[in-house]
């Protein structure tokens, strides 16, 4: 099992480095350039305080708000896209390409294959988030003497790192969809819709009181990208809920992968049945 895990991590090595450094670009640009236009932000904040921006979680009235809106708000969205790509690619993608057949025929239980791939995906996600968080923290360190803020380097690092339960939940949902649906294309489409609906739904329910009752349906609701959360951190209860969702999705992935006919590409309810007339053939 350990060897398989090592191998899975090896396969993801390039993606971890690429996505990690790519995501660093975000805080480097947004945070690094802040001192050069900090004065002008005060003039914009009234415009940027419009409901539509609130709906997108954007509030730039302060440096903390700016950081939350540009970095801790958007990086998890991009990470969720990676989670969808990698989560659906892990089982469904490998099945589509035929590579899964090579692994499944080894003397390894199917639940172990899913578990190892889920652990590898989880580790890849935490490493990517860590690289992006380190990039954000180092960028803040370079401009800390040029901005007025009570946000520390550690705060920024932890704020981004705490997005991991959210992206892990999306990763495991994608993994489950890969084990459940006939092809990666379908799994990827559904998972992308889930991410987008969750992001927009979470923001809209925060803005429209009549939608409050359904806010718990959207995973982004359990992740706060606000100026306050930058300093105070995410609520433990919310993080546990997200990890619970990830665990439940992993459980479903194992369940459906155990029953899956690899290489066939059908929905679970399309399992074959022998027609009455042929039973005694």
């Amino acid at each position: 099992m350990f060897r398989l895990l090592l191998q899975e991590l090896r396969f993801r090595r390039g993606a971890i480095i690429g996505w990690g450094l790519g995501l660093c670009f975000f805080p480097v640009v947004y945070v690094g350039l802040y001192p050069s236009f900090a004065d002008q932000m005060e003039n914009f904040y009234k415009i940027l305080d419009l409901p539509i921006y609130k709906a997108l979680g954007i509030s730039m009235a302060s440096f903390e708000g700016y950081m939350a809106s540009t970095v801790t708000n958007l990086v998890p969205v991009i990470m969720a896209i990676y989670a969808v790509i990698n989560g659906t690619g892990t089982l469904a993608g490998e099945e589509d390409s035929g590579r899964l057949e090579t692994i499944v025929t080894l003397p390894i239980p199917r639940w172990q294959i899913v578990a190892v791939k889920a652990i590898a995906l989880g580790m890849a996600l935490v490493l990517i988030v860590s690289i992006a968080a380190a990039g954000a923290a180092l960028t803040l360190l370079t401009i800390l003497d040029q901005v007025e803020t009570n946000v520390t380097v550690v705060d920024v690092f932890l704020a981004l790192l705490s997005a991991w339960p959210l992206v892990m939940a999306f990763g495991m949902i994608s993994l489950f969809l890969g084990a459940f649906s006939p092809s990666r294309r379908i799994a990827g489409t559904v998972a992308t819709v889930v991410v987008i609906a969750s992001y927009l739904g979470s923001n809209l329910t925060g803005m429209i009181d009549s939608l409050k009752s359904i806010e718990n349906l959207f995973l982004f609701h359990f992740y706060e990208a606000t100026a306050e959360s930058l300093v105070q951190g995410q609520k433990l209860g919310n993080m546990l809920i997200l990890l619970g969702v990830a665990l439940a999705a992993l459980g479903l992935a194992v369940l459906f992968f155990q029953r899956r006919n690899i290489t066939v590409g059908v929905w679970p309810w399309q399992r074959g049945r022998i027609p009455e007339g042929e039973r005694s053939a």
């Binding site: 060897r3 398989l4 191998q7 396969f11 390409s97 035929g98 590579r99 057949e101 090579t102 692994i103 499944v104 025929t105 080894l106 003397p107 390894i108 239980p109 029953r259 006919n261 690899i262 290489t263 066939v264 059908v266 399309q270 399992r271 074959g272 049945r273 022998i274 027609p275 042929e278 053939a281």
Partner: protein
Amino acid sequence: MTDHAVETHGLSVYYGRHRGILNVDLRVEQGEVFGFLGPNGAGKTTTQRVLVDIIRPTAGEARIFGLDCQKDGVTARDRVGYLPGELAMYESMRVRRFFRMYASLRKSNRDSEHWQALSDRLELDTSRRIGQLSRGNKQKVGVVTAFMSKPDLLILDEPTTGLDPLVQQTVMDLVREANQAGATVFFSSHILPEVQAVCDRVGIIREGQLVATERVEDLMTQHLKRVRLSFAAEPPTDAFRRDGVEITARDGQSLTLEIRQDLDQVMAEAASYGITDIETIHVSLEEIFLAYYGKGNGGSLV
């Protein structure tokens, strides 16, 4: 159900409404080389995929060395080397890394470096990335992967596909040597001469159903005979017009017949025309196979 390398009972697989295989009862003895014949879509690959638990049966059961392929699949697969028909691997990996990874993932790998000897024998460059290999070389990677753990049972889905004739011969030699070392080999093929050359028995599957399981020599001697008969005088034009007999050549006082049934009656009829010579012509397994699947032949060998 413990003495057979492979045993299926009432094995059926349906893909939705589409039939994969139906009521396949198959026994492969330990230590034999068993060839699995059938046209594309007949159910060969489906049967093999059930054995390695890629596909779950709709009905019936499949066992390897007495172990249920699904419930005891991990233990069963530890004794199996499998070569899929459509091979897909990690394109960015170097061949030797792939072999080392694959060897490390088996519980009872008996010779962790056996892949090296196999690669040398097949003249496979293991320093190259899999994605850079030709189709034939990728097939060699698959062959090595199947043989590298010296398994008790080799399940090979068209093992020589894409290989040049010399390498095909080497693969067949590997099959023979594995078999001589005690391994059971269960392989499907479209190349009938190689089946004829190495197999003890063959199973013929048609439209998802196993229609024959016979020893190769029995199949070849019992089910299709080709004879050239010479007569003192030209036999009448309506001679040998009967079911199961086909006149494939007529040359004056000689006739070439393909006989599938009632050999004694055909000989009796021939005797009535005054036979002067009988010559038995060799019939290859391929010709038997084609006769079996040929136009309008709905007969069964069983």
